[in-house]
């Protein structure tokens, strides 16, 4: 496989559905990093991931994985990636032991030992049918499968959604362990931003099919801030500095995208650090500018 800097390179990806357009989305996932892919339900995260996996047809744009074209070099790429979906894709009559026998002939680098080690570690029975598993166990099984063929890239679509905090943390720990190898990368779509805050190196945020933000998580958190002020002070803030503002009876909370500059410019006002969740909320309401 050729040398590459980015595990994923998406350029001007456009997919048009009836009533929805994924509009010229571009972003990179650097080799050895974990990218959080954030957005509301229906923002276009799953569409992007499906296009990435060549499950749906794209209208325009290009997708490269490990420097290879995702359509022309599909089989070579698919040997190196693993996808984890929000629901288990395996038939419920199968057992984990069955999956081991099935997939050892599907992937060149499938390791039964690694898979069995994950099953032991995650306390998953190998002889019980998947139908008897809880939701958490099903997700753990998907992750065990994904990590057992030496994949260089994990693509996860809402994989941790609906799991209890204990299982979610267990999964996140496994992802961080997986990233200990500098050749491994993860693209993780989720709307649980607290998870991404814990593990992500970079973040891409899309809304209504459009890319709003992409970059290193720390940079994004560093740049953004929330000014908490009275309504009268809010009027003094230049509209071009504001992403959007939450107005209530007690005052205003204003999201700004250049914290350092705003700190100087509005030195009399309180400027707090923010979270990915708040950033997502304020960006989603950016069209309205003011919201309650």
């Amino acid at each position: 496989m050729m040398e590459y800097e980015n595990a994923i390179e998406i350029r001007d990806l456009t997919v048009k559905y009836d009533g929805f357009t994924l509009d010229k989305v571009s972003f990179d996932v650097a080799k050895g990093s974990i990218m959080g892919f954030i957005g509301q339900n229906g923002a276009g995260k799953t569409t992007t991931i499906k296009a990435l996996l060549n499950i749906i047809k794209r209208d325009s744009g290009s997708i490269k994985m490990f420097g290879l074209d995702n359509i022309k070099d599909e089989l070579e790429i698919k040997e190196q990636i693993s996808a984890v979906f929000d629901a288990i894709p395996f038939q419920e009559q199968l057992t984990a032991g069955n999956l081991d026998r099935i997939l050892r002939d599907v992937y060149k680098e499938w390791s039964s030992d690694t898979f069995k080690a994950y099953l032991d570690r995650l306390a998953l029975p190998s002889r019980k049918k998947i139908s008897t598993f809880s939701k958490g166990m099903k997700m753990k099984l998907q992750i065990a499968v994904a990590l057992s063929h030496n994949a260089k890239l994990l693509i996860m679509d809402e994989a941790t959604t609906g799991l209890d905090p204990v299982v979610r943390n267990e999964c996140l720990d496994m992802f961080l362990e997986y990233l200990q190898d500098e050749n491994h990368s993860i693209l993780m779509s989720s709307h649980i931003t607290t998870d991404l805050e814990k593990v992500a190196d970079s973040v891409t945020f899309i809304n209504k099919g459009k890319l709003l933000l992409t970059g290193y998580k720390d940079d994004i958190l560093e740049k953004h801030g929330v000014i908490k002020c009275k309504k009268s002070d809010y009027k003094e803030i230049s509209p071009e500095d504001i992403i959007s503002a939450r107005i209530n009876d007690f005052g205003a909370e204003v999201m700004v995208s250049d914290k350092a500059m705003c700190k100087k410019k509005y030195s009399g006002l309180t400027l707090d650090n923010t979270t990915l969740e708040e950033i997502m909320l304020y960006y989603v309401n950016a069209d309205k500018k003011e919201w309650c």
């Binding site: 997919v15 048009k16 559905y17 996996l53 060549n54 499950i55 749906i56 047809k57 089989l75 070579e76 698919k78 040997e79 990636i81 693993s82 996808a83 979906f85 629901a87 288990i88 894709p89 395996f90 038939q91 419920e92 009559q93 199968l94 069955n98 026998r101 099935i102 997939l103 050892r104 002939d105 599907v106 992937y107 060149k108």
Partner: protein, 243 residues
Amino acid sequence: MKGLLYKEWCLGKKTFALFLTLSMVFTVLGILVFLSTMYGNLKTWPETEPGSIKVFATMFSYVPYILILFVATSVNQGIFMDCESGWMKYSYTLPQKPIVIVGTKYLYGLIVFACSFIFGLINAGFICLMSGEKFTLDLVRNLIVILVAAICELAVVTPLAIKFKSGRTLSTVGAVFVMGVYILSGYIMVKLDEKYPETATEIIKNIFDKAMDIIGMLSIPIIVVLLMISVFVSCKLYQRREK
């Protein structure tokens, strides 16, 4: 392909085991009935006429045909399970060519049908042996015709299941189709009986025998052409990415 074949086996093995059990139960049952007709209680029954053994033999000769169709249903079930679970979506993430993903379903179907054909022959052989009837080529021909019907079903159902991703819809459409054919055949038979009351049964039997002969003779080209078309269409449908 071995792994994917194993998956199909995992999904269908229960039904196949049931098929084997039923096959053996009916064979044993047949043997017992014939033994009883020849040497046991049935021989001494006042209702047992000299030709009864022939009637029993005819009754049991349908068993292998029914079992082959039963196996065909189990193959369809596996395809429906794939389409209704997330497996089809997941299969797009596997490093396998579409022909391998789709072709496995056909290959599994053919292997299972071949097994059921062999069991059918054994079953028919036992029945002939016990009833003293001749093991004729007609028996083999009938089994081949049923096998062709089962393969036709596989060839039609697989691309449709990939297209519609729903077993229930297909089962309903299939049931309506079979009922339609049944009603139409009934209608034709009634009409023939009205028109030729004396010879209708003979005419139907002749037509049926001719049709069976033709299908029996052309079975291999029919199967090959049908499967080639079906595999091609299934691959195209599988490759057609949704929007």
